[in-house]
Amino acid sequence: MKKISVNPITRLEGHGKIEIFLDDSGEVVNSYLQIPELRGFEKFCEGRPVEELPRIVPRICGV
Amino acid sequence: MKAARRIPLMKKMLAQFGIEEERVRLDWVSASEGDRFAQLVNEMTEEIRRLGPFSGNGGKADD
């Protein structure tokens, strides 16, 4: 089975890659979108004062 | 008097870094209290020996 990697995906905000598996005749068998990045805002915002969050969470996405 | 304010704030911050409270200590000793000075230093030394070496494990270079 042949694998085509589209890595990284471009012209959008964020990190991602696409893996496409092809059979012997070149037909697509399956494809996967993977997100290789996690920063953990869900966790590290805990313990921060609530009034500071408007200055932290804009950095989830700045585009 | 600045130290009396700085050290408690520093200790509050170090607690957030997971650093044992006993590693920082502020005491007031007069120049005439030689015995007390020696006693405090010995106490501190024992305390640190009990805690063992500090490793922040930050980054890669420290390991």
């Binding site: 089975m1 694998k3 589209v6 890595n7 990284p8 471009t10 012209r11 959008l12 905000e13 990190h15 893996e19 598996f21 068998v29 399956n30 996967y32 993977q34 290789p36 990045e37 996690l38 920063r39 953990g40 869900e42 966790k43 590290f44 805990e46 313990g47 921060r48 004062p49 500071e52 200055r55 932290i56 804009p58 950095r59 989830i60 996405c61 700045g62 585009v63 | 008097m1 600045k2 009396a4 304010r5 700085r6 408690p8 704030l9 520093m10 509050k12 911050m13 957030q16 870094f17 997971g18 650093i19 490793s55 922040g56 494990n57 930050g58 980054g59 890669k60 270079a61 420290d62 390991d63």
Partner: protein, 324 residues
């Protein structure tokens, strides 16, 4: 004459630095005229293999934004380092760790637990977490390894210049482009911003640096003309490098230190502890206790953008949980 080559990359970042480059508006055309952009994931369709195929040091200038949080970002940092003559840590994340480095108060396992198990939108009874290698019917899938500790770019590869800011202001970006175009880049290691502190550049009226109590934003309406710190609002200006145009303070918001420590300061957070505690007026233990109560989150405030670059770098891991 062939045009110089520029590469831009984002690691653990939000994309705001890339947008800051586009905020140069029509000047972006000058940049495009001046140089060939050979890699820029947010805007152009070049893949990692295109970079791998380039000759070593064939890229003249690499603007790298984002912190290093996983093995892919480390690999790309090394790859771009090998391919580039000049490596620039672009923005607060690449320079100091930035907001992603607040993750250094926690660990990979704690983040995974929160994100994939505890979050209200997760239904994950089998406790499935991201794997570096997954076998699927058709073959194998791989993901980078997430680190416990977020690192700055300079902790991973050699860096020639640092452009701080969250994001770097347009005038600094244009200044760097000019310096690059005219071949007048400063000595290696330079931080391209001001050599003064933010306070030195702030135009607010400063009287006596004394505060009787700390106010949180919902407790006070700040006077737009007086020093915020003197009004009792925690402002990181005394231990932050200038050059940002005092953007936040002009908007009546206190500084949070995205330009990193000024010259002569090694640890931004420790300097702020010293600065704020020393101007606080206290008559006794009661006042000191109130100060401690009112400064809710000293580490997360004083190291808001600088955790990875601080002396301690991260929250200490319990014995037995330490890994490289």
């Amino acid at each position: 004459m062939t045009k110089p080559k520029i590469a831009l990359y984002w690691a653990a970042a939000c994309g705001g630095c890339d947008v800051a480059v586009l905020d140069t508006n029509e000047k972006i055309l000058d940049i495009a005229n001046l140089a060939d952009i050979v890699f820029w994931p947010v805007a152009l369709d070049f893949k990692y293999h295109h970079v791998e195929e380039m000759a070593d040091t064939s890229i003249d200038l690499c603007l790298f934004n984002g912190a290093v949080r996983n093995s892919e970002q480390e690999e790309i940092a090394r790859l771009l380092r090998a391919k580039s003559k000049v490596m620039v840590a672009f923005g607060a994340c690449a320079c100091f760790g930035g907001i992603p480095a607040l993750g250094n108060f926690t660990t990979r396992d704690e983040i995974f637990e929160r994100v994939y198990i505890e979050s209200p939108s997760s239904a994950n009874e089998n406790r499935t977490f991201p794997q570096t290698l997954t076998k699927v019917e058709e073959g194998e899938l791989d993901l980078p390894e997430m680190f416990d500790t977020v690192m700055t770019l300079a902790q991973v590869v050699d860096v020639e210049y640092f452009i701080p800011g969250c994001p770097p202001p347009v005038d600094i970006i244009l200044k760097v482009v000019d310096l690059f175009a005219s071949g007048q880049l400063p000595p290696v290691g330079a931080i391209i911003a001001s050599d003064k502190t933010l306070c030195d550049e702030c135009e607010r009226t400063k009287e006596e640096k004394k505060i009787a109590r700390i106010y949180r934003p919902h407790q006070i309406i700040p006077d737009p003309n007086r020093c915020l710190l003197e009004q009792g609002i925690i402002c990181c200006g005394p231990a932050t490098r200038g050059g940002c145009g005092v953007r936040c303070v002009k908007a009546n918001m206190p500084c949070r230190g995205c330009f990193g420590p000024p010259p002569g300061v090694i640890d931004q957070g420790a300097k702020l502890v010293s600065a704020i505690a020393s101007i606080y007026q206290s008559d006794g233990q009661e006042d000191i206790n109130r100060m401690l109560e009112d400064i809710v989150d000293p580490a997360g405030t004083f190291y808001r953008f600088g955790m990875a670059d601080s002396m301690l770098k991260r929250k200490s891991l319990p014995q037995g949980e330490r890994r490289a």
